[in-house]
């Protein structure tokens, strides 16, 4: 640290504002279409790589209660699938997948944070507060913007989603969920938890002989599982939800595709939506 300032926080650690740690500040929020689920491309404005927090479906029941093949599908969750640049250097496309089984009213938003010195090189209009610049005259702190601040200490919580090959045959709804507790209620919170795993599973349910070719045809259900998030109370759930379900008739025997990551890990970082209107 050559330039900047250090302050003690309540944990007696340093909060450092210097040339090596420029601020992430709040840039705005974007509504996820409330269409009962689907995959959506949402264009957000940010210079430099954005940090995207997504709202959580909160305390939404599993619905349906079916325990047939649809049980692994009939569930609610959200996932940020990708954060990709566009031809416009200040615009990114965030692809979000929502499993909602036609439920509406989830009121889900993306909240976007970006680097201060890239997005607001001239600073805020605020006439009060504090600003810091680094040795290159880049603004690294401006109290006139909302800094990225977590809702509570959830970063010490690690969520581990175990590797498990789902058996699609009459699964219980929650068999492939992982849940962790955080020290605050997750109502009206957004998280940034992008770890994910997916499993592609062909499940043979029958076969027949093609009379034209006299070949034996194997019949498969093909199921792709996403990692999606959902919350209730202080509990955050990562769930494997089958969002891609099809049928495949083939003379081959397609194999399951499993991740080599035996367990998928993530730390939970949550913000309070009320601080970022």
């Amino acid at each position: 640290m050559t330039y900047g300032a250090r302050f003690r926080n309540a944990s007696n650690n340093y909060v450092t504002v210097d040339e090596e740690s420029p601020s992430y500040v709040y840039l705005g929020k974007y509504q996820i279409p409330d269409q009962g689920g689907g995959t959506f491309d949402i264009y957000v404005h940010c210079v430099g790589y954005p940090l995207v927090f997504f709202g959580l479906p909160y305390n939404v029941g599993p619905g349906g209660g079916r325990v047939d093949f649809n049980a692994c599908q009939d569930r609610v969750g959200i996932q940020v699938m990708k954060t990709a640049p566009t031809n416009d250097s200040a615009t990114w496309v965030i692809t979000v997948k929502v499993a909602a089984q036609n439920r509406t009213g989830l009121n889900l938003w993306l909240r976007v944070f970006g680097m201060l010195h890239l997005n607001f090189p001239n600073g805020s209009w605020d006439h009060y507060g504090a600003r810091f610049w680094n040795s290159q005259s880049q603004l690294v702190f401006d109290a006139g913007f909302k800094q990225l601040r977590l809702a509570g200490n959830s970063y010490s919580t690690e969520l581990a989603l175990p590797y498990m090959a789902p058996d699609p045959n009459r699964d219980a709804n929650d068999k492939y969920d992982a849940v962790v507790g955080v020290p605050f209620d997750l109502a009206n919170k957004s998280i940034c938890a992008n770890a994910r795993g997916i499993i592609y599973l062909p499940y043979q349910y029958g076969s027949y002989v093609d009379f034209d070719t006299q070949q034996n045809i194997n019949q498969f259900y093909t199921m792709a599982y996403d990692t999606m998030y959902w919350a209730t109370g202080n509990a955050l759930w990562a769930r494997r939800i089958c969002t891609n379900f099809g049928r495949l008739d083939t003379t081959d025997n397609p194999s399951a595709d499993y991740s080599q990551c035996q367990i998928v890990y993530t730390r939970i970082c949550a913000i309070d939506n009320n601080l970022y209107p």
């Binding site: 909060v15 504002v17 940090l51 509570g152 200490n153 997916i198 998928v264």
Partner: protein
């Protein structure tokens, strides 16, 4: 209320920033992670000895999509503190070596803890 640190208010007297709160995040590291550089068994480890004794948060995002067997990818990011040194262990994985292994963008922040 702490007697140390920095607080700022706007012209209406609303508190804008309080360095004594634990949870304001400051980035310390970011890097584009190429999947080809991440061992599919042991992952990729990055540690931050200069921040020993501090707690971090790490975010991983990917520019790639999935939705089919051919395109899916897996991100996993694990944080540990061996000897107090913040350490990030990253896994990126793809269904099949015949397809492009996904890349990611890593951001690491101090949490104040």
């Amino acid at each position: 209320m702490s007697n140390f640190g920095l607080r700022t208010w706007d012209g209406n007297g609303n508190l804008e920033f309080d360095s004594t709160t634990d949870l304001t995040m400051f980035p310390i590291y970011s890097q584009a992670i190429q999947g080809v550089n991440v061992n599919r068994s042991s992952g990729l480890t990055i540690n931050f000895p200069q921040w020993a004794g501090r707690e971090i948060a790490a975010f991983m995002q990917s520019p790639y999509n999935w939705g089919s067997t051919d395109g899916w990818c897996v991100l996993s990011i694990r944080i540990s503190y061996p000897n107090g040194v913040p350490t990030v262990l990253i896994f990126l994985d793809n269904a099949n070596n015949n397809y492009s292994i996904c890349d990611g963008w890593l951001t690491v922040m101090l949490t104040g803890g």
